[in-house]
Symmetry: D2
């Protein structure tokens, strides 16, 4: 497949131009592990500066026009003003992420806390996030709960599920007709015995109880070792319940490395399921990055991540579906696998470079960004104030 | 809690007398790994002899009155006769397990095979299993599919789900009003890229599509590392979708060691969820053993396994629910954990010995079995013929 | 084994009275995950107050007379004064832990950093820790390096090993004749592609290159899923290279829960290997706690942890070695396992209560601590100043 | 890197022509899981036919001139005759693999069995394997022991290590000056509590005790989840103790899928360490395949596996070491990673096609093999007799 037929090339290029990948405001701020947050120079000091960095990513990649916010990390006085600021920069506010894990009250949980007052406060925050959505025009509310327990017996599993169901129902009821709720699951961390939404099955069960606009979101770093993520993608697609992705990669746990860095073949397989189901665009699946750039330069890392998703997508678009189906129907194990691998082994970087040129972009986004002097500029400008970061 | 209050003792003892644990016919035959099956002397040569061994387990434990069969491993001419034989031995035929993984046809799957003829044959076998149930009076049909793929691209995930749904629906439709279908999931083995029912979420989604009599069965060895099994137990109980257990234990993968041998604390936590939900009896949850005794004497190993479940159950019954709830409501992390651990640390063996005496049994089932000379007897008698085993 | 023979009881009691478990200064301060540190009232504000809390643990347990320090978290002007303060409180300074992971310089590693100046600085810190040991009379320097890389290619594996070897050799050369170096390994976190000392094999290889006083330390939370830790204990004991333990427990990764909370049977198996090798005391193995009490009260959690180690030890001391060896030599798989399980299932709490009474202690350390009013007292007193915590 | 400089191309091509990959005789016979062995038509019936199939693989790939044997699976009357037969086919006998896991005697272990007679027998077999080596001219004796235990307490860890050390020493002493012993480790299966050589650390410790000609062999499927295999490669290379590889791939456990099928990026990283250390040839590292082709055609699967190793090697050879080192020394995390990824993303298939043409081979080995009609021929010829397989 080293020589692409012109019609293949045109088809794939068209899809690549239309692809949309959302970056996350918190990726531009400082982040770290429990052991240490290493600060970086030039990091944004407020949501406005985060949007500026996100706009740079979009400027060089052309496929990252929206930015997810995290409330209250991205608390501002006037969200309409923030949205206007985004527009001026050439981007838009995307998904709103609730944060109910950083108040002292939430030590034993937010919406599943044993204390009714704390649960009330947490639900209140979720509703406020929808207020923000109303003002920013965001479509999706993404819910991740750090809720869980550290010790067997600490709290009651089913009671906590009941509390969760109550909170989700009240929040769902508040959604506008065009708004959606994306429920995220995670096996562990920061809870270490049990989390209240540990797996896709739990998220799925809650979502079908809620209704059509409740959808499951897959964070690629939130599974047990050995979990076949693309299987979950396919099953949720079949059920009409895949709301989106939080992309990142990992070798061990929720490492939050750049997507595609740890297992590019897995990323390709995930995107292959998406392409197979014709769900790359127009079906309401949000493709988001959720990563921590602890030791690498942040903007460059986000650009790299966007490119990694693009490259995996390009390869997935090259899979010969007819040949694949023929081999599968034939029971030709090696033949079918070969069709897939043929696409995977193709070097799609020349194709992507020319797609970028068609879009009026520099074919080498990272080189262009580095040459732009942007990092040097913000390093010089953004002195004083408090750097934004995990929790700020 | 070293001294049990008389009323606690009476309450717990009553529940322990009523507990029922089903043993599996194949546990009495030879089994092994892909590397080697080590034969043992005295192993049954046919289903009748397997029932005889199972009856011995019941004779010494008093709580194992039913025996699961595996079709076609336990194929007989006349199932009514087999059932009669069981009754004479003091036991009954329990769950019927289908086997659609040992014909050459099933190399690429059974009900999800790309070949329609193979799928038809597999469904036919499932329906025949219900015929067997009609004749044995079994309530439950347990379905485990080895179906899956070894290589990415080998077959289509969603298409295979569709085929699975068709097979399950046809089988479900054939069930009598008092019969149930128990759907088992397994992460991997013998398929090594993807199994068609890898996790509880997939089994659950199919079961809710089918109806009330389709239930999920949890094999304790079928999960990814780190999976919190008791959470799944609790969530399925809450949803009314827990049909039963295939008990065994493991350190690594589906090791099929004796239940409670690898992680007795986990077994206790599972049974704690069962007791908490008052689901130990009368709610239709089947407590089954599904193990391979590759290197240890089989009957003794099954007795040991039954005792392990009993001991974990006894401990779970000793948990002080009122104290637990009070500590949980109070947010007393260490206090709540302590209530659970207090029960776990209790030595329940004296209690179980006295429960057995109340039931007219020897307080030491393993000692009594060993003294009985049964193993020596069958070793002498069961010469000639073909030993039953994995696949026979 | 529910009734202990008097001589067994006396033998076991004597060993339990002699057991020594070291607590860690940082366990008394605030800790958390990357998502949030939940502060607790009454937490120490300096190393002197940490020692006071540790002394309380020793007062109620009688077996925790030493306290590990972390440099620079426990930096003081005058270590001789700190050691004197400890003595007045009835405890002593134990192991010195180096910390070369919280300076901004260490972003890409400490002793394995690509920058020679950073490596020099890190080695300098290790040597300073030995200066502290000279002043506190500590025997052991415990080295854990967060060093590693997040991305494939980021740095060279073998070059980093060379740098590590240089740093260890220089540090080892500075040790006094009675001082030891304990080298800790960890699979991942905070490095997410590779750590420079990921497993016992790597630590062992460096230790044998260094000499007799370099020993491996096992942190029970630092392994890949499925690792058989007691096997490593046995193999290191056989090689004379087990220097000590950092005890804690985990369900998933390096969760740092209370030791014995996640898998009490594993803790028992570890201590069984220790007892089997007659290595409980006098062989220079340091039994240390290294945990994070993120949501539970800290002093009570440390007491609970000490009790958990004691209970596992008591059970291990009850294993009938002669019966175990006889069954093993006989190839009696179930018999040998039963000997071990018999000890594990014994409720050793009554024995431990009476051991405590013999030692002049309250038989119920947690109850006694709670009744003492200590927590209420420090909550009232320790206002103002900065709470000690992870990183302070 | 899409356009290779001529000198790069020449350098890489030369190395690829010299590469040697050993295939395994048992890969050509039937294999399966514990659930089922699916037989395939045309499978060899004796070692002579296995060599014939191996010769076909070499004919089409040009880099697989040696074949590993498994004793006693490949037991023949006259090994000199077998070796001669191999030569006539254009291949040679390679590594000799001992098999001490398929006699009934070995139920509780071979060289670590509690029974001295069984241990004697097992050592006898190891010595006989060296006799075979003398006759075949093989350099390497590969030792994998299935030895281990299924239940805690079943046998004594340290005693078993002592027995292992005795067996290894006696076998090592019998080796000729040009012969080597390769010791393999495996985390689990078929033993499920503990294996006697579970990890590289254990194998390494035994090898350094034995001497220079004892080396560790890495089977890529024998690790705990999350293990960084290329780290082990690098550390063993640094220690001069890497004897070879058993290549295969896995998603879960020891799945024994085709190498490179599950994680091609990992295979590339492994070969990158090999190339970095200039250990691709001439340093005595044996590159062997050890796989089970349970559902796919065997010869084609072996060819595919050889190609996968070649492709990963070609990519590893393309890594720009100077640029990599410069970025590493500079602390340029993303730059260094990019150098590695640049090589990985290159499509090396055109290069390999031209290398094959230079070698006088068909550029498309799989197509050529399929067109050859070999499979149809052996299907027709190899009827009657007993198909070779796992254990035969």
């Amino acid at each position: 497949m080293t020589e692409l037929a012109p019609e293949t090339r045109a088809r794939v290029a068209a899809r690549l131009r239309d692809q949309r990948i959302e970056t996350a405001s918190w990726a531009y701020g400082n982040s770290g592990t429990r052991f240490k947050v290493f600060p970086q120079e030039g990091v944004p000091r407020d949501p406005y500066e985060k949007l500026a960095d996100a706009a740079v990513v979009h400027r060089y990649t052309g496929v990252a026009p929206t930015v997810a916010l995290h409330i209250p990390w991205d608390l501002v006085e006037d969200y309409a003003d923030l949205a206007r600021h985004a527009t001026e920069l050439g981007v838009r506010v995307g998904t709103i992420n609730s944060n109910v894990f950083q108040d002292n009250d939430y030590k034993l949980g937010s919406v599943t806390n044993p204390d009714a007052g704390v649960r009330r406060k947490a639900i209140g925050h979720l509703l406020e996030c929808i207020d923000v959505m109303d003002r920013t025009g965001s479509r999706d509310l993404k819910l991740w709960f750090s809720d869980g327990t550290n010790y067997p017996g600490q709290d009651d599993v089913r009671t906590r599920q009941d509390r969760l169901a109550v909170a989700l129902a009240e929040t769902y009821a508040r959604l506008g007709d065009e708004q959606r709720m994306l429920l995220e699951y995670k096996l562990f961390e920061p809870a270490f015995y049990m989390t209240d939404v540990p797996d896709w099955g739990t998220a799925y069960a809650h979502c079908i109880a809620l209704g059509e606009r409740a959808q499951v979101v897959i964070d690629t770093g939130h599974h047990a070792p050995g979990t076949n993520i693309e299987f979950i993608v396919a099953v949720l697609l079949r059920a009409g319940k895949l709301g989106g992705f939080d992309f990142n990669s990992r070798f061990y746990a929720d490492d939050d490395l750049m997507v595609g860095a740890a297992d590019p073949f897995q990323l390709f397989r995930i995107l292959h399921e998406i392409v197979l189901a014709d769900a790359l665009s127009g079906r309401g699946i949000a493709f988001m990055l959720d990563q921590c750039h602890n030791i690498e330069p942040k903007i460059q890392a986000v650009i790299r991540s966007v490119l990694n998703v693009q490259e995996a997508t390009a390869k997935a678009l090259l899979v010969d579906h007819a040949a694949l189906k023929a081999a599968q129907d034939d029971g030709d194990v090696l033949g079918a696998n070969e069709v897939l691998m043929d696409a995977y082994h193709t070097d799609v970087r020349p194709l992507l470079r020319s797609v970028r040129e068609d879009m009026g972009l520099d074919p080498d986004p990272i080189g262009a960004y580095k040459r732009s002097g942007y990092l040097e500029k913000v390093r010089a400008e953004r002195v004083g104030g408090t750097q934004a970061g995990w929790g700020a």
